[in-house]
């Protein structure tokens, strides 16, 4: 199939970017979006041009490294699917595809389609973890966790940290990401001793890095991990709980 691709080219955060139009004549329906960009890049290298910078790693939807905005939708047209698992079969022959970086104030463009998502790392670093002794793996039965609780924690821990929810949000808010982090750690017994301290740290950091939530629901529409929209309510819930319990750690 033949495709016309408008790609955002930008040398760095300090310079202005613009769309540049390219054509790929030998694209195939079974190619994924990163494969299409690989194909285009070898074309560009042959022509002596700079290849397009973009992020991917696992290319199987588990690492959260990939992420671009395709035709205005973070990750692309296939719902709940990371960019690396989006395929050209979603497009028709002769289609015009627009690719640009994830857009949000918190995500400065590093180059072309690559953005700096370290704001999300700073949120995690402010308490979004469990301080356990990471020695040898404990016996699986030492801590009993009811099935429903485990399932709930797993649903909310599915976040791959891609940042699509933030790019989709008209407010530049990270509530789906922050809420999924807080929910799964607050659900499991290992996360409970630091529950209050974590909520204070994570919510304060998220407010410094991202926008407020208006419950638009755009985030859950694009999330490749299928994090449910109810995650966003955990931000206010956990913050209020921690505020009421004052200086308690749990």
């Amino acid at each position: 199939m033949k495709l016309t691709i408008d790609v955002w080219r930008q040398a760095s955060d300090e310079t202005d970017g613009r769309f540049v139009s390219y054509t790929v004549d030998d694209a195939a329906a079974e190619m994924s979006l990163p494969e299409l960009l690989d194909r285009l890049n070898s074309q560009l290298v042959e022509e002596g041009e700079d290849p397009i910078a973009f992020d991917t790693d696992c290319r199987e939807g588990i690492c959260g490294t990939c992420g671009i905005t395709v035709d205005g939708i973070p990750h692309g047209p296939e719902p709940h699917t990371p960019m690396c698992r989006q395929h050209l079969r979603s497009f028709s022959d002769g289609a015009h595809i627009r690719m640009e970086p994830f857009r949000s104030s918190a995500f400065p463009v590093v180059r072309d389609l690559v953005v700096d998502r370290s704001a999300m790392d700073r949120v995690v670093a402010s308490g979004g973890f469990v301080s356990v002794d990471a020695g040898t793996a404990p016996d699986a039965d030492t801590r009993q966790i009811p099935f429903d609780m485990a399932e709930r924690a797993l649903d909310f821990s599915a976040c791959i940290g891609c940042g699509a929810c933030i790019a989709a949000c008209p407010n530049g808010s990270s509530h789906l990401f922050t809420g999924s982090l807080l929910t799964h750690l607050a659900t499991l017994p290992q996360g409970k001793p630091e529950r209050g301290r974590r909520a204070r740290g994570v919510v304060e950091s998220a407010e410094e890095e991202f926008g407020p939530c208006s419950v638009y629901g755009e985030c859950a529409e694009v999330c490749p991990a299928g994090i449910p929209l109810s995650a966003i309510s955990a931000v206010n819930r956990e913050a209020a709980r921690a505020a009421v319990r004052r200086n308690r750690d749990d």
Binding site: G127, N171, V203, V215
Partner: protein
């Protein structure tokens, strides 16, 4: 707690943060918006039910308006209940609007304004998506409407109020004739109808939003129920009120 932030992976540019550093958190602002919004929702629902007394005739409606002023007398002074409501509603509306503006400006900044053009495109634009996106517009319409409404039927200030407006006295109320006089002017009726449509949209998103803002986890099934309840309340409040100017214009009430 202050864990060291990891270094910026690329370049050496200083970290620019998209959020805010104010001591007034967005979490607090959202709780205030949700609570004041729910106070308003309860008020508009009760107010609408009271308005429907107009269908029981002039005596019933006027005596209801009169009762509002004399309720719980002598425990409360004349207009005591009314003034309590007015103060609560005024404080609520100011808090609601101030928080809305603070959140809106934080949201603009975090989205990135002109630097990051708004490029998201949602699959389909349903009524609830539209209601969410138009909160600022419907909110401003409601504020203007509330001002008009008070000038029209409470203070009787022209040109908002009808010519024959009669203020309430300690002995009696003329709410019924004031209302009929006002709605007999079709532009006034139109303002009420448009404002009620704005209210329906504002309630539709506001009621759903306030549940999330209060930190209540809503599963996908519960979300459908919540959306249906919000739609029902929004329609009942708006349509209940809209019947009144329509009834006056069609001569059903005179």
């Amino acid at each position: 707690m202050s864990a060291p932030a990891p270094a910026r992976p690329s370049g050496s540019a200083p970290v620019t943060r998209a959020g805010h550093r104010s001591r007034f958190s967005s979490v607090a602002a959202k709780y205030i918006m949700a609570i004041t919004g729910l106070i308003f929702s309860a008020y508009v629902l009760v107010h609408m039910i009271g308005n429907l007394k107009v269908y029981q005739g002039p005596e019933a409606f006027n005596s209801y308006a009169h009762w509002l002023r004399n309720a719980f007398y002598p425990v409360l002074p004349y207009e005591g209940l009314l003034w309590i409501l007015r103060v609560v509603l005024l404080v609520s509306v100011i808090a609601h609007i101030v928080c809305a503006l603070i959140l809106k400006s934080r949201a603009r900044r975090a989205r990135g304004g002109a630097r990051a053009p708004s490029i998201r495109r949602r699959r389909g634009l349903g009524l609830s998506v539209f209601a969410g996106r138009s909160m600022l517009v419907t909110g401003v319409v409601l504020l203007l409407f509330v001002i008009f409404h008070i000038l029209d039927l409470t203070t009787g200030t022209s040109p908002a109020a009808p010519d024959g407006f009669q203020a309430a006295t300690h002995e009696s109320s003329y709410a019924y004739s004031n209302l009929v006089d006002s709605f007999s002017r079709w532009p006034a009726s139109l303002i009420y109808i448009v404002a009620m449509l704005a209210l329906a949209l504002h309630l539709l998103h506001g009621l759903v939003s306030s549940v999330y803002d209060l930190g209540i986890g809503v599963g996908s099934k519960a979300r459908n129920i919540l959306a249906a309840v919000a739609l029902l309340v929004a329609l009942v409040v708006a349509l209940g009120n809209i019947t009144i100017p329509v009834a006056v214009l069609t001569g059903l009430i005179s």
